[in-house]
Subunit: 180 residues, 2 copies
């Protein structure tokens, strides 16, 4: 599937509501459980997505669109949210993610990007040369990866409770060693 | 995390709305894309969840609660939905899943299951002896596994589009060989 801006934005637009429908009001053990040390709970995933809205996707798109001689991105801090969101409720994070995402989608739409702009280059600190089109596709795939991660970490809270069902529930044995 | 009926039901209750928020109204390529031959699209995942409501979880709970001499489950047909849902729209499947799930949750709640009943045995055709508690926990984990699968299969539609981002998006290389 080729990246197409309108179609990709349809996914970006849905993520906050999908995560809210999945998580809002659940008992704390579902929200706070992890896959092991230094892995993200459902709560942490929302915090990480908020970090992305504030420090990753749109700031990097702006660097590309500014068209300077070295469109190099700032490195991204995957753990900024751990300090930032101490003491916060899940509901307040869901609200914040919804608002930040709505503003960023509005901004992205307002740019009315052309095919020529989507082909403009950026410079990723670890991955090297990328295009604006690839950055925006990665934003969409990143959202979906974190929806999958939230569901997976929740499922794993029942790894013992399902007893003999483990081999029929592959989600329980995905990412036994964290991959990101 | 131990299985606790009320807490598990909170997850079961949210799945239809979460999948609707993620999927309803999306362009067809997001809905119909798969991970390769004989794997499920997002559409197929909803069909499979509907099959579960009609033929798996509650029918098996009834077999356990009936307390016969051999509480053996019927084998489950993982591909029933492919024939059943030909020509259907995603929206109609989402509606059907919502209605079936609401009815099943209502039924499950009406049983007012005791700890003794949750410990009653069933006989899985491939997994052997199980309990009602394990069956209900598996129902919850199965839901979450399919939420994760829907997000993963969607993300993979952009595997090429993200260009160099693949190593930073592990969801794109999960389940390169189907595991279920």
């Amino acid at each position: 599937m080729e990246f197409e801006l309108a179609s990709g934005m349809e996914v970006l637009r849905r993520t906050p509501a999908a995560l809210r429908a999945l998580l809002d009001g659940l008992p704390e053990p579902w929200i706070r459980g992890t896959e092991g040390p230094d892995t993200f709970s459902a709560f942490d995933n929302i915090g990480h997505l908020i970090d992305g809205e504030e420090t990753d996707w749109i700031p990097r798109a702006r660097i590309i669109l500014a068209g300077g001689p070295d469109p190099r991105f700032e490195p991204y801090d995957r753990f900024r949210h751990w300090e930032r969101n101490k003491g916060r409720s899940l509901e307040s994070l869901l609200d914040e993610f919804r608002d930040l995402r709505a503003a960023n989608i509005g901004l992205l739409g307002s740019w009315r990007l052309t095919e020529e702009q989507l082909a403009l280059p950026g410079n990723h600190p670890f991955l090297g040369p990328v295009t604006l089109r690839q950055l925006l596709a990665a934003w969409v795939a990143h959202d979906l990866g974190h929806v999958a991660q939230v569901a997976r970490v929740m499922a794993k809270q029942y790894r013992e409770a399902v007893g003999p069902w483990v081999p029929f529930l592959p989600v329980l044995t995905d990412h036994e060693v964290p991959r990101s």
